[in-house]
């Protein structure tokens, strides 16, 4: 050990959304806090400034905002029969890097889970019986209910600056909102966005079929906005550079626009960048953590940072990796015996969609934002008859240009040549004449899908890489096929000249190469007792009471929505427990 830093009250590992939330809420308690961030510092200007930022080749194609595999990666296999190989080229998912983390380069799709999703096993059992749960599916109940989390969802939405229209205010269904959503105690803090042409067209077709369309909620400012910390957002100009980009317009909800400026005002808070945490250190009695060891990139040395409380708030994959390396979070999960908890219930997202081409309609594909669109929840988890349909799950649908970037947004009819004169002909004919509908579906937890340490490969610090074992499962593929069967008639009702579907079907195998989604969940799941998960209802490690673990790794199984809303709500729930219960008497809270 080259260096030991003076002890802090709190060390935060990773300065993205949840690290920033923990930072500011605990700084308000007067605690002495340091946040360690593996990546670089970044601010709207100069890091995301116009026009340098809207370089699609650099950020959209070459994904320069993301973690570099040479810096950190994992190995991937589809089942225990295969040998996992390193994820050397970013494809299926894109972990972020630097201050703000994935909160800087997301699309701004902020959703709450449905109440039923947080008690899924009970919901299924009560309505259809335990028997419909397929063998190998390991779904459970979250140890915290929607009602308990509601104030914290609301708090996060105010901080993050979410635009939308409530569909259920304290049980009263509201015109224009999502009638199937969980109840809200308050209206959204910002009004819903105006629709683009494609989303309006989709909304009309959906209404005509008797569905219940509404404007998707957005972490994208529809007006000037000031949040409870005094932080600000400017109204979005629909440039369409959200996902994979930082926002030059101060319009996208991010730690930079929502928290960091306010956090930096606290003299009792400091953060160190280029500081990669290697391990959480444990006290000799094994009951608590003593701090973390990190790699100081600048000094090229290992540093021990002692602290009374450790907040793990790096990306889900990295949190699980650190816990595996540090022996925190309970025994490692064994998919064969079903014993152990750490690494259990890794889940993902099951998505599909339909593209439609209209020779005589002019869409402006350069106008949009990441969370743009009209959505519907008529095929959501709480609307589907799992017993009759033969699957457990659901999805929300959405239509609206969310990517205004020219290179990756040139949708073409299948069969169009991928290059040369035929491609040019196709682009000329179809650019600006197409739209799409997406299905964003749930992903259940399964015995096969888990995370552990790789026996072969190590990282630049000599630590074993984490190994992901993941494949698609029949239940979710059946759900996806059901969405196809329902979405195609809706698309056809809009009378496109051409339409084509992209839904994975029976027998589909996970391919880590093409981008799918960066909604990696589970691995250090929440549970009612230490035999079933790694952390309790307050995201407090069962085995080390001064370690709190933020993020989507807490998800018992993934929901049908983008994870940020639940991640934010859980983070506020956790810091509230630390403030009101833990600080006065540090102990296991359950």
């Amino acid at each position: 050990m080259a260096r030991t830093e003076p002890k802090k009250d709190v060390v935060i590992v990773g300065l993205g959304w949840t690290g920033s939330i923990a930072g500011i809420e605990l700084a308000q308690e007067g605690l002495d806090i340091v946040a360690l961030e593996r990546g670089h510092d970044q601010n709207t200007v100069p890091n995301f400034e116009y026009p340098q930022q809207i370089d699609e080749l650099k950020y959209g194609v070459r994904v320069k905002m993301m973690q570099k595999p040479s810096q950190q990666t994992l190995t991937v296999r589809r089942s225990g029969d295969e040998t996992a190989l390193p994820y050397r080229s970013l494809g299926s998912f894109l972990p972020g890097n630097g201050v703000g983390g994935a909160g800087t380069h997301w699309n701004g799709l902020n959703w709450r889970p449905m109440p039923e999703e947080l008690r899924l096993r009970s919901y299924v059992t009560e309505n259809w019986g335990e028997d419909i749960i397929p063998e190998g599916m390991t779904i459970g109940d979250y140890p915290v209910s929607y009602d308990e989390l509601e104030p914290f969802f609301t708090q996060f939405e105010k901080v993050a600056g979410i635009a939308g229209k409530a569909g259920n205010l304290n049980g009263e269904i509201q015109e224009g909102g999502n009638p199937f959503e969980g109840w809200r105690s308050e209206e959204f803090p910002m009004p819903a966005h105006k629709p683009t042409f494609d989303s309006a067209k989709f909304g009309e077709a959906a209404s005509a079929m008797g569905y219940h369309p509404f404007t998707a909620s957005a972490g994208i400012a529809s007006t000037s906005y000031t949040n409870p910390y005094g932080m600000q957002m400017g109204p979005c100009n629909f440039c369409g550079f959200c996902e994979r980009f930082g926002c030059y317009q101060y319009s996208k909800s991010s730690p930079q626009t929502a928290i960091l400026g306010a956090l930096k005002q606290y003299p009792n808070f400091e953060y160190r960048t280029n500081s990669e945490v290697l391990k959480i250190e444990t006290a000799p009695d094994g009951q608590t953590a003593t701090g973390v060891t990190y790699w100081d990139e600048e000094a090229q040395e290992e540093v021990f940072q002692p602290a009374d409380i450790v907040i793990l708030s790096s990306y889900q994959l990295n949190n699980v990796h650190l816990m595996l390396l540090s022996g925190i979070g309970g025994p490692v999960y064994d998919p064969v015996t079903g014993e152990g908890v750490l690494g259990k219930n890794y889940a993902y997202q099951m998505n599909g969609g339909v593209s439609m081409f209209f020779e005589d309609e002019q869409f402006n594909p350069f106008v949009g934002h990441g969370a743009n669109g009209i959505a519907l929840d008529d095929f959501a988890i709480n609307q589907n008859d799992f017993g009759a349909l033969g699957f457990i799950g659901g999805s929300y649908w959405r239509s609206g240009t969310f990517n205004g970037q020219p290179i990756r947004s040139m949708r073409l009819p299948s069969g169009t040549p991928a290059w040369g004169a035929g491609w040019k002909e196709g682009i000329k004919k179809w650019y600006g004449h197409s739209m799409s509908i997406g299905s964003h579906g749930s992903h259940m937890a399964y015995a096969n899908n888990h995370l552990d340490l790789d026996p072969t490969y190590t990282d630049r610090h000599g630590r074993p890489l984490m190994r992901m074992t993941f494949n698609w499962q029949d239940n979710d593929l059946r759900m996806n096929q059901y969405m196809k069967s329902k979405m195609e008639p809706l698309a056809a009702s809009m009378n496109p000249d051409l339409m084509q579907s992209g839904f994975k079907g029976p027998g589909a195998q996970y391919d880590v190469r093409p981008y799918q989604t960066t909604h990696n969940t589970g691995g250090h799941i929440m549970s009612t007792n230490a035999r079933e998960g790694s952390v309790n209802r307050y995201s407090q490690a069962w085995d080390k009471h001064n370690v709190f673990v933020m993020g989507a790794g807490n998800f018992v199984q993934n929901t049908q929505y983008n994870p940020t809303g639940l991640v934010g709500g859980l983070a506020y729930h956790t810091v509230n427990a630390i403030r009101t219960q833990y600080l006065s008497n540090p102990r296991p809270l359950v």
Binding site: T223, S224, G230, Q232, G234, P235, Y250
Partner: protein, 451 residues
């Protein structure tokens, strides 16, 4: 150059008169306006508030130095003046100064050894301070501030400005007003505002035009020139009164927001004003910023409502404004996507419209409106050029902790393009200000690269 010659001529004349006076009249300190009891004690926090409202820290602290230990270079038309150490260090600061010495510096501009301060120290305005505030500030500096040993840098101006006795004569012209504060008695809030504006805040030092002798052309509202707009270091300090004042259309609440946070529904603070917000105004209680705003609005006899708080906590969602009648034609041109639109409008569309919008109204609290914006239509064009080339930054403040930074376009736009854009901005949405020449852009660009 013309101004310089005028100043020179003025000062030479002043010098001759002063020389005679210097021979015949001994230096006399102004008597205190009130006699305070020997055991008088300032209220809790009063001294610090006077320090903040007087913006002492901004000038008396260098970029990397200890607070109040001096050493900041103050650019003046006569050359660089170095601010001094006002910590209670006996050797290098003011530790050996009596209260009478301190008062004399604050209201007569004279140090204990009889040296005249350069009027970069706004004793013209501090002269209006109450005796209570003077004592509170003195006691605070002497007892609450840690002494710092930091030798003062000598201010060496060229002849004739290095002849400090000349200032004594200048004081005869500039310090014609009585010491102490006389409230107008309109309302408590306005009286408090008047005091902060006239005295502690020394707003007139920038916002009041200078007369032939470079003295403020009036230090109280009794003078018509008071706060009628000045020019400081190539920046317009806009008029704060009269129908043409940029703040004419602002409410008291909006004006108070601007003072406390450097941003409001219309504009953002730049240049010197950003420093005033950062070092002084954001630290004042809401009631004081409301008082300042009420006084300024009341100067023209406008009716107003007093807000209860300044820059309330969120969540607050404020839609951006649509173009008004004066701006409608410009807004229409910008959204027409007409390939024949003028180059300035095209440059605006490509570089500025994303944030400031076709309406030219910007977005409340974050992106300033460009229609009627004092920096856009001011007589001085270099600030506008500088913002286009180098960007701008609104500092974080207690109630609005976000740093609002606009990127510069120096690498993207040529001198001709910046001139074209600036000229177009000065005529868009009903703005009515003159053209900007490419040479003026080149000058700003060169002076920046020389730094």
């Amino acid at each position: 150059m013309k101004t310089f010659l005028r100043i020179l001529a003025g000062l030479v004349l002043v010098g001759v008169i002063a020389l005679l006076a210097f021979i015949f009249v001994p230096v006399q300190r102004t008597e205190p306006t009130t006699e305070l009891a020997a055991d008088w004690q300032a209220a809790e926090g009063q001294g610090e508030l006077v320090l903040d409202a007087g913006d002492c820290v901004a000038c008396h602290t260098s970029d990397d130095g200890e607070s109040l230990a001096g050493g900041r270079a103050i650019a003046s038309p006569m050359g660089t003046i170095w601010s001094t150490n006002i910590t209670p260090d006996a050797e290098t600061g003011i530790g050996n100064w009596s209260f009478a010495d301190f008062r004399a510096a604050m209201i007569d501009g004279v140090t204990p050894n009889g040296t005249h301060l350069y009027p970069a120290m706004p004793y013209e305005n501090y002269r209006l301070m109450t005796e209570e505030d003077m004592r509170a500030l003195y006691d605070y500096l002497m007892t609450e501030v840690e002494p710092v040993s930091a030798a003062n840098k000598d201010t060496n101006l060229d002849f004739p400005f290095n002849q400090r006795w000349g200032i004594r004569a200048w004081n005869w012209l500039a310090l014609t007003h009585d010491a102490g504060f006389t409230p107008a008695g309109v309302s408590d809030a306005q009286d408090r505002g008047q005091y902060l504006v006239e005295s502690l805040g020394h707003c007139g030092a920038c916002h009041t035009p200078r007369n032939t002798f470079m003295a403020q052309d009036g230090v109280t509202a009794e003078s018509e020139s008071f706060l009628a707009g000045g020019v400081v270091g190539g920046w317009n300090a806009p008029a704060l009164r009269g129908d043409d004042a940029g703040i004419k259309g602002w409410t008291v609440s909006e004006l108070a927001d601007y003072l406390a946070t450097g941003r409001n529904a219309h504009s953002t603070a730049n240049g010197e004003m950003a420093l005033v917000v950062e070092h002084s105004l954001q630290k004042l209680p809401d009631s004081d910023n409301i008082a300042i705003a009420a006084y300024l609005k009341g100067m023209d006899g406008d009716a107003f409502d007093l807000p209860e708080e300044v820059a309330a906590a969120g969540p607050i969602a404020t839609p951006e404004a649509e173009a008004d009648d004066a701006g409608a034609a410009t807004a229409e041109l910008l959204v027409s996507a007409d390939p024949d639109m003028p180059l300035g409008a095209r440059l605006y569309s490509d570089n500025c419209l994303g944030c400031h919008f076709a309406s030219g109204k910007g977005a409340p609290g974050i992106f300033p409106e460009l229609q009627g914006n004092g920096l856009v239509v001011g007589s001085e064009v270099s600030p506008l050029i500088s913002v286009i080339l180098n960007g701008a930054e609104v500092p974080p403040t207690a109630k609005r902790p976000m740093t609002l930074r606009m990127q510069g376009y120096a690498d993207r736009l040529s001198d001709d393009e910046v001139a074209e854009l600036a000229t177009w901005l000065r005529g868009a949405w009903g703005n009515d200000a003159g053209a900007v020449a490419p040479e003026a852009v080149a000058e700003v660009r060169d002076s920046d690269s020389a730094h």
